[in-house]
């Protein structure tokens, strides 16, 4: 992992100067979606890159040790071995970037992965996910417990009330506390963009989160009505670029929620490459939060290798 973002003092002047032109961002998003990746081996390689950036996620009320276990197994072997082998990629360590579960399932995931001799990190959502409407004290406790259980990445949600009312200093303080509670675990800050109102607010919240020491900023919980959209991603990614140009620290980006197809995964990679450059195209700085995406990618890879579309039962269940 690259050097972590240590954060910086809250610079409210910088935050206040932020300006975002909505139509220009929408236009840019259209452009990015129009940029095509070549077919064949290029597509296969890009899709495998996407696989290595996936935070394979299950966040349901009915999660139990058995489906978490299956998820972990899928994370260690995300694409059928024979398919990888035919592309000569079987020995290149293709796994997903992490598995992502609720705090109560962290122990199960850690156990499953340990048993499989895998070093895939376990990520846990925390801090009153998804609404964040619980007292700060319990939210902090949640983080500490997840870390104790063995989570090495924590996806925290910000307090939208503070962001919407412009209390950036308080938001900064809260995230700072979370960062302390995380300790060595990496912190991904979920902005819940669908509930922030404007692009300008998204940009500001991104800046404040990074100033407070987030290692990643993440679009949404997947539980809001509006999830990861390309325009909102462009706004966040620009904030990342701004922060990097000013401080020299690279912060990662994680879109999550509603990403289901291989085609979408490609657009996300294009967006990162166009806006931030190749250096951001690694799991250290880019994650895709998804659950059903992997299945579609595997199907596309199957098609690339065999020239046929697989029946659903031909690919292992996640």
């Amino acid at each position: 992992m690259s050097d972590r973002n240590p954060g910086m003092d809250l610079d409210l002047e910088w935050v206040s100067k932020v300006r975002v032109n909505t139509q220009a961002v929408l236009k840019r998003a259209q452009q990015v979606q129009g940029r095509k990746v070549a077919k064949k081996e290029w597509q296969a390689a890009w899709l495998l890159k996407a696989v290595t950036c996936i935070d394979l996620t299950t966040l349901s009320g009915d999660d139990t040790p058995s489906n978490v276990h299956r998820l972990c197994m899928k994370a260690t072997q995300p694409v059928r071995y024979d398919l990888l082998r035919s592309m000569d990629m079987h020995d290149k360590g293709i796994t997903t970037a992490a598995v992502c579960v609720y705090p109560s399932r962290v122990a199960d995931a850690v156990k499953s992965l340990k048993a499989a001799n895998s070093s895939i990190p376990v990520a846990s959502v925390a801090t009153g996910f998804p609404a964040g409407q619980t007292p700060l004290k319990t939210r902090l406790e949640e983080v500490r417990m997840a870390v104790e259980d063995g989570a090495t990445e924590i996806d925290i949600v910000i307090n939208r009330t503070l962001a919407l009312t412009g209390q950036w200093a308080d938001l900064y303080k809260e995230i700072r506390h979370f960062r302390e509670a995380c300790g060595d675990a990496h912190m991904k800050t979920i902005l819940a963009v669908g509930e922030l109102g404007t692009f300008t607010n998204v940009y500001k919240a991104s800046l404040v989160s990074m100033m407070a020491g987030s290692d990643f900023i993440k679009t949404s919980t997947g539980k809001e009505s509006v999830n990861a959209t390309y325009p909102v991603a462009i706004v966040m990614v620009r904030a990342i670029r701004d922060y990097y140009l000013k401080t020299g620290h690279k912060v990662g980006f994680k879109p999550a929620g509603g990403i289901r197809t291989a085609q979408e995964a490609l657009v996300w990679l294009v967006l990162m490459k166009e806006e931030l450059g190749d250096q951001w195209l690694t799991p250290n700085l880019f994650r895709l939060g998804a659950s059903s995406l992997l299945g579609d990618i595997e199907r596309q890879i199957y098609h690339y290798v065999t020239g046929r579309y697989p029946a659903y039962h031909e690919l292992p269940m996640a």
Binding site: R19, V20, N21, T22, Q23, A24, V25, L26, K27, R28, Q31, R35, K36, V37, A38, K39, E41, W42, A44, A45, W46, L48, K49, M87, D88, M89, K92, R238, R241, D242, L245, L269, K273, E275, G277, D278, L281
Partner: protein, 791 residues
């Protein structure tokens, strides 16, 4: 898949390259070209014709491979084409509005059907052409065809219109001329450039399929001179040109003296300001810049002006975003050399470069380059070479940004970036351009009227306003043959000192003054000339003005005109009412002046004064009635189109109705916010000179109106040679008209014959129709559109 190994999945996985872009298919274009055996003829009288023994020109694609050949038309072809167009015009003119409407609508739908083919042909010929934009254009002007008689009664089509294009014009620009011309009932001869020829021929064919009668649209191809030869044909009633400044000027000169109006749209290579204020969404501005500046074919060139407080941010973002960008193709080695030279020159003058990669040692490509801290005089700023090179300048305040943006010879378009609405609108108002895009870099829609300013032309295209160039309300000057004029000596005759012929000592003539920049004075040269009554008696000595008087008048006008233009229309109306009032108070004196000067009866003279008063009141009343509009675009956002004053207008007045003609012109020009320098009739200057005291007694600010008496040719020459004068209205000799067309091709010229004092001539002034008044108003203004896209 020869080198599959280097493109192994693993290698790509590590490099994350995009891979080769998919070869764009050109199958339909190829099959169209094949159908014509890859040799395209001329399109005359509804079909392709292949005259024998003509030279041909090859059209090549990006790789230099020959796509097809086009015919170089010779004089015989042009003649048959003109004859066919004249017949076509008769048919087309007679058709009903709804029929013309139907034809254009059918064109729109067949464009939709064949959009693939049109795009591919454009691509192959390396000219940008977007089918949806063309469809919209056809639909828009189809609407105007339907409504012509309802909304534009009294206006008539001009006849056969020649649309001449240079090689590097956008395909859309060709049709932005052709379709409005067709919509209002003209026949059109298109002379496309070599590269635009194949798609133009394709569209001509589509129009024919849509039901356009044969001959209404003819396409003549050929080398450089064919445009001029077509324009000079005596069937042509109007010539409009789109392309580069050089060729446009040349065409204008060659059309001098033919009595045919010529207008120029010179957007090719226009340098446009791209202004980024500190209140901008800088990331979006940088994106916009990269989107528009580093393409291999663009019509406009950009100069980026960045406010100092965000200059570093812009530079850093550009560096970050441009890193590793691929080289962009330039058209040939020679062009690449020019780009290289310009960049080197800038570097030597201390500029620093942001370059995505070092330029390769050879090949027709160049890396995207931003030239920072460049001297404003550097050729990279003044005339940026056609390539992916953009100069970057900085400014301190918003006002300085506008000044920097205006400080260039072109006036085509501007892109401004700020989230501050007030600043955006103020800036848009102050920029001397035809199109202002706020927080975006371009917009293509036919409903936006845009005038070229300064060196970007003399023509208004788009919108309802773009139709008027193809219509006429008044009687247009008759066609004529050029006469021999010594351009260097025109108007150079020295003033004649008049020795007083003291035969009759009792009538020592009075001595008049003229009005220069608000001051009543003698001619700068000190010379004067005698004014004679029709009987031959010397009535007075009037100043014999010249170059320096014009210079002084223009200087004064430039100082007061911006303030006059900024005044509210209501305030301008009041000033003009006060002028009418002032004239009313001196009606006796003025009538006497006309009577003495022209020999008209007192009664007729009084009538002219009466009409003059009412004319001034007309224009005063119109001040706050003629307004801009809000075009409705198919995109989300707000557009504003406003008429704006030209600046300083020079007018050479006729002998007819000396007071009425002067007052009509004065009212029209001044009411919209122009300053005017008027040259009264050489023969009958006294009413105009006597009017000076009327002017001085009213509220029109000093300097807005100047009246300079003297030799007509001399003063015409002086007006023509002052580059701050934006437009010249001229009533006078064929030589004078020819001289003006030849010597000031970039001014807006409104040329009229000196009418005889007959029924017709008088009518122009005494009984102008509504449309004639409107035509005069349209000659006084230029159109600016502001486009503010919103989400």
């Amino acid at each position: 898949m020869a080198d599959r190994s280097s493109h192994s999945v693993y290698n790509i996985f590590n490099s994350m390259e995009f891979g080769p872009s998919a070869e764009s298919s050109a199958a339909t274009a190829a099959s169209w070209l094949e159908k014509h055996s890859r040799s395209l003829g001329l399109f005359i009288d509804g079909k392709f014709v292949h005259p024998d023994n003509r030279e041909t020109l090859a059209v090549s694609d990006l790789k230099g491979e020959i796509l097809c050949s086009i015919v170089c038309a010779d004089d015989e072809d042009i003649l048959s084409c003109a004859t066919s167009s004249a017949k076509g015009f008769q048919k087309w003119k007679e058709m009903s509005d709804s029929w013309r409407h139907k034809v254009l609508l059918r064109l729109a739908s067949s464009l939709q059907r064949y959009s693939q083919c049109v795009c591919e042909v454009c691509d192959l010929c390396r000219i940008p052409g977007s089918a949806p934009a063309l469809v919209r254009l056809a639909q828009y002007y189809a609407g105007w065809a339907q409504l012509r008689h309802t909304l534009l009664p009294e206006w008539n089509p001009r006849g056969v219109v020649a649309v001449v294009m240079s090689d590097d014009v956008f395909f859309y620009s060709v049709w932005l001329k052709v379709l409005p011309a067709l919509a209002v009932g003209n026949a059109v001869i298109v002379v496309p450039g070599v590269k635009t020829a194949p798609p133009t021929l394709l569209l001509a064919q589509l129009l024919m399929e849509a039901g356009l009668p044969a001959g209404v649209l003819n396409v003549v191809t050929g080398n450089g001179s064919v445009g001029v030869r077509v324009a000079q044909n005596n069937q042509i009633s109007y010539v409009t040109y789109s392309g580069s400044k050089q060729d446009g000027e040349l065409l204008m000169k060659q059309m001098a003296g033919r009595g045919i109006p010529v207008s120029l749209s010179l957007s090719v290579c226009s340098v446009c300001p791209f202004i980024i204020f500190e209140t901008a969404d800088v990331d979006s501005a940088v994106d916009g810049l990269m989107d528009t500046a580093f393409k291999n074919c663009t019509e406009w060139r950009w100069v980026v002006c960045v406010q100092e407080s965000v200059y570093d941010a812009v530079v850093e973002k550009l560096k970050f975003r441009m890193a590793g960008m691929k080289c962009v193709g330039v058209s040939d080695e020679c062009e690449r050399g020019r780009v290289d030279a310009a960049v080197h020159e800038a570097e030597q003058q201390g500029a620093t470069l942001i370059q995505s990669r070092p330029p390769p040692s050879s090949g027709c490509v160049y890396p995207p380059t931003v030239v920072c801290n460049v001297a404003p005089s550097c050729s990279a700023v003044v005339s940026p070479p056609p390539g992916p090179v953009v100069p970057l300048l900085s400014f301190r305040s918003a006002a300085e940004g506008v000044a920097l943006g205006n400080y260039r010879p072109h006036g085509r378009a501007a892109s401004i970036w700020t989230e501050d609405l007030t600043l955006a609108l103020e800036t848009a108002k102050s920029l001397c351009v035809g199109l202002v895009c706020v927080n975006t870099h371009s917009v293509t829609d036919p409903s936006l009227p845009q005038s070229g300013r300064r060196e970007s032309g003399t023509c208004t295209d788009g919108g309802r306003e773009g139709l008027y160039q193809f219509l006429s309300a008044s009687v247009t000057p008759a066609r004529s043959e050029p006469v021999s004029v010594d351009y260097t000596r025109f108007g150079a005759a020295a003033s004649r000192f008049l020795v007083p012929e003291g035969s009759n000592s009792s009538s020592v003539s009075r001595s008049c003054s003229h009005l220069v920049g608000g001051k009543v004075c003698k001619a700068d040269s000190g010379c004067s000339r005698a004014v004679q009554a029709p009987g031959g008696t010397v009535l007075a000595q009037c100043p014999d003005g010249g170059r320096k008087d014009v210079r002084n008048a223009v200087e004064a006008a430039l100082k007061v005109q911006p303030g006059w233009m900024k005044k509210s229309p209501a305030a301008r109306a009041l000033a003009l009412y006060s002028l009418a009032d002032s004239l009313d108070k001196r009606r006796q004196d003025m009538a006497a002046s006309i009577h003495n000067q022209t020999g008209l009866s007192m009664e007729e003279a009084a009538q002219e004064v009466e009409l003059s008063i009412s004319r001034l009141s007309d224009w005063a009343a119109l001040c706050d009635k003629q307004n801009g509009h809000v075009p409705l675009l198919p995109h989300t956002g707000s557009a504003l189109s406003t008429p704006e004053a030209l600046g300083v207008v020079g007018v050479v007045l006729p002998d007819t109705k000396p007071l009425l003609s002067m007052v009509s012109v004065l009212g029209a020009t001044v009411s919209v916010g122009n300053a005017v320098v008027m040259v009264p009739s050489e023969k009958f200057p006294l009413p105009a000179l006597d009017f000076i005291s009327v002017l001085q007694a009213c509220d029109v600010p000093a300097g807005v109106v100047s009246v300079i008496s003297g030799g007509k040719d001399q003063l015409t020459q002086a007006l023509a040679n002052h580059n701050e004068i934006q437009a010249i209205w001229y009533w006078g000799s064929a030589e004078g008209r020819q001289f003006l067309q030849h010597c000031s091709p970039l001014k807006r010229l409104w040329l009229h014959c000196e009418e005889e004092e007959d029924e017709d001539g008088g009518k122009f002034w005494t009984k102008p129709s509504f449309s004639m008044q409107e035509e005069m108003w349209r000659e006084c203004v230029v159109w600016k559109s502001v486009w503010i896209p919103t989400a």
